[in-house]
């Protein structure tokens, strides 16, 4: 057992209201710069939809992530060493700006300076790349809230395997249904971007697992852009370097939640430490598709287990980190309750951002438009929900429904249990039976309710101290920094000639 700690995340999709506050917080802090205008380290997609960049989940097109060779080994899909070398001049799977969008601003001056005329002056869009007037054809979130569904939602790769009836049920006017899918870098355990970088510029931090890109080591070979199956590494067209979500590490190191977490209106985001067994990582990443969710979960260790604590100490994990792991909301959601699932685990990068799948608000069409009341099976409406189970399974179960169904049944049981307690129109017998059938105890239901609905900031974000002062002290003479710490020569990231 080789214990490592990882800062992991849970997004509760049932709580996301799709307000994009998270995206704006991130943009204002990190990507409001030349060459980075088009980047959305955090973005919120409507599902079904094609996302950002368009159709990012289509790995036939983008060649991201890992695949299993016939021999059972792990191999990067389009960016293994041989192909990085042969494709270094031109990567066939690399998305271009057309797959994202050309960033623009508006010629606001025209509103003031336009000569008098018959028509109102307009603020004409200007490209932020060329500075010329442009005709906007598409932008980020062009398909927000299913706008333009026949063009966008239609092409969602997760619709694969759905029957014609299921598809039409998703989009029937007046009955259509969608949910939001906020995304940031998953800070994976087996990051494809890191493995593909020929310069060794991308790395995973040993202490907390945050995946970073060393700007001075990056040489613009661009393998990471193709390698990341979530398309969360972006190429800065001005500096000639790639960039990605840094999980606001300067904030995390000082005990603050990342900006997107901090600003989240729906309070859907949870952040906490997971302890995992790094020695079994490779084996887990090679599992059969139907076992992947469970294999990843099995890597996560019980932070209360004395054997794990001892092994963690031996591996240099700080006591404060172990303490944080014991209080981690992520551990509860992912490992104990099995409510939160990894997105597209079939890419085999072992993402460390987990999603609680959303409960579809309304039931699907049944019995010629009439939906039956409660039958003997309390959970039938989960399988008959308007968002077909297969669709959620394609997103969160590598195409397999079992883990998704488990999470949704438990969520429903908790709701009915709470309804029994607060509204009172559900009998205690029904509530208990539902909990039992959903593999949930009343205590667990209370805890799930607490952490879902009544959680405070301190419940949601359990951030261990980073102890960077120790890092400095152990590496160098601390006196060197006396009266000088905080100042240094930091060069502007200016494009060379």
């Amino acid at each position: 057992m080789e214990v490592r700690s990882q800062i992991a995340m849970v997004f509760h999709l049932d709580k996301c209201i799709g307000c994009h506050t998270c995206s704006i917080a991130c943009k204002n802090i990190w990507t409001d710069r030349k060459g980075a205008e088009y980047m959305w380290w955090n973005n919120v997609e409507t599902k079904p939809g094609t996302g950002f960049p368009t159709e990012w989940e289509n790995q036939e097109k983008y060649g991201g992530g890992w695949q299993r060779t016939p021999g059972g080994d792990l191999q990067l899909k389009s960016t293994d060493k041989r192909r990085v070398v042969t494709n270094i001049f031109h990567h066939p799977h690399q998305p271009s700006m057309d797959d994202y969008y050309e960033p623009w601003t508006y010629d606001y001056q025209n509103l003031f300076n336009a000569p008098e005329g018959q028509d109102q002056p307009t603020a004409i869009p200007i490209s932020m790349v060329t500075g010329e007037y442009i005709d906007i054809k598409a932008g980020p979130n062009w398909d927000d809230d299913l706008s333009g569904s026949p063009v966008y939602a239609e092409n969602d790769p997760n619709l694969a395997g759905l029957t014609e009836q299921q598809r039409s049920q998703l989009s029937a006017i007046e009955r259509l249904v969608f949910f939001y899918f906020p995304r940031i870098c998953n800070h994976c355990l087996n990051p494809a971007c890191v493995a593909a970088c020929p310069s060794g510029a991308l790395y995973k931090r040993g202490e907390d697992g945050i995946v970073l890109l060393d700007q001075t080591r990056c040489r613009g070979w661009r393998s990471c852009i193709s390698a990341c199956p979530y398309k969360k590494v972006y190429y800065n067209w001005s500096t000639g370097k790639s960039e990605k979500c840094i999980l606001c590490f300067p904030r995390v190191e000082t005990g603050q939640a990342p900006a997107c977490f901090h600003s989240c209106v729906g309070r859907i985001r949870y952040l906490g430490v997971l302890l995992y067994d790094a020695s079994r990582l490779e084996e887990a990443a090679k599992s059969n598709p139907e076992d992947l969710v469970e294999a990843q979960r099995s890597l996560i260790l019980d932070p209360h287990d004395p054997a794990v604590i001892e092994a963690a100490r031996k591996s240099g994990v700080d006591d404060a980190v172990i303490d944080a792991a014991q209080r981690s909301p992520v551990y509860q959601f992912v490992k104990v309750w099995k409510l939160a699932l990894p997105p597209h685990i079939e890419y085999r990068t072992m993402p460390m951002l987990f999603y609680v799948p959303p409960m579809a608000p309304v039931m699907a069409q049944r019995n010629g438009g009439r939906v039956d009341g409660i039958s003997q099976d309390f959970f039938h409406d989960i399988d008959d929900a308007r968002v077909p189970m297969q669709f959620l399974a394609n997103l969160f179960g590598a195409g397999h429904e079992a883990p998704v169904r488990y999470a949704l049944r438990k969520q429903k049981a908790v709701r009915w249990y709470r309804r029994m307690l607060t509204v009172g129109d559900v009998s205690q017998e029904t509530a208990s039976r539902m909990l039992r059938e959903a593999d949930c105890s009343p205590e667990e239901a209370d805890a799930i309710y607490q952490l879902t609905s009544l959680c405070t900031v301190d419940d949601r974000y359990v951030i261990p101290p980073a102890h960077r002062e120790e890092a400095i002290a152990m590496l160098e003479d601390p006196m060197e920094h006396k009266q000088g710490a905080g100042f240094g020569f930091i060069a502007r990231p200016a494009r060379g000639e």
């Binding site: 031109h90 493995a195 995973k204 040993g206 070979w221 591996s315 240099g316 494009r495 060379g496």
Partner: protein, 232 residues
């Protein structure tokens, strides 16, 4: 100025100036502005024509460059190889083909840079200088191959000794004196390219990845010393 004086300046003084500029320039830039070392790829801004320009250019120039390097380092083996005419023809033909490939790619690069507005935005004045110099260099190279054939043989017996004489700090202009002007232009252009090298995008050649091929896939950095005996 007499032609010998020009020869002296271009082929005995300029090479050393170039060499000093090249070394001080690249090291200084790497030291002071490591951030500025990048391929400055523009594939992101234009993804179709890109392939037909950048790829042929690089395969061509790398082949040609390798040919020059071998002829410079081990001229005698080239002469031995060329002892049989068939082999000489093969070498000459593939050299010319690589040169033409480079030229086609380079023209593609220049046209793409000029005609694609987004790519033009990220093209600096130094980029244009480099393309002009490269165009001169590759064109003269191809012309030399056509009008002064069997270069693979005479390079080894004339140019290599001259270059070696530079490296032994006893520049021997006797080799230069008899050269056609096209060849002289080609050699002078090479010095010019080396001189602008540290101040241009060409520095990307110095940072082509290599330990990558041998390293383990995942990279982990630790800030605190970790207990010994652990893997990556």
């Amino acid at each position: 100025m007499s032609s010998t004086a020009i020869d002296l300046l271009v082929f005995a003084v300029l090479p050393y100036v170039t060499l000093v500029v090249f070394f001080l320039g690249t090291v200084g830039r790497y030291w002071n502005r490591p951030f500025s070392y990048s391929s400055y790829s523009s594939q992101f801004l234009e993804n179709r024509f890109h392939f037909w320009a950048v790829v042929p250019f690089h395969y061509g120039i790398l082949t040609v460059f390798a040919g020059h390097l071998v002829a410079f380092l081990v001229p005698r083996s080239i002469l031995a190889w060329n002892a049989q005419p068939v082999r000489l023809y093969i070498l000459e033909a593939s050299g010319l083909a690589a040169g033409l490939l480079t030229l086609v790619g380079l023209v593609g690069i220049i046209l793409r840079r000029y005609s694609e507005p987004k790519v033009r935005i990220v093209t600096s004045r130094m980029d244009w200088t480099v393309y002009a110099l490269l165009l001169l260099q590759v064109t003269t190279g191809v012309l030399v191959a056509i009008f002064h054939p069997w270069g693979s043989s005479w390079f080894a017996s004339v140019a290599s000794p001259y270059l070696w004489s530079l490296f032994t700090f006893s520049p021997d202009l006797a080799f230069i004196a008899g050269m056609p002007w096209l060849v002289k232009l080609h050699i002078g252009g090479a010095f010019a390219l080396f001189a602008v090298f540290p101040y241009s995008r060409l520095v990307h050649i110095l940072v082509v990845p290599n330990p990558y091929l041998w390293r383990r896939p995942q990279v982990v950095r630790w800030y605190r010393p970790r207990p010994a005996g652990r893997g990556v």
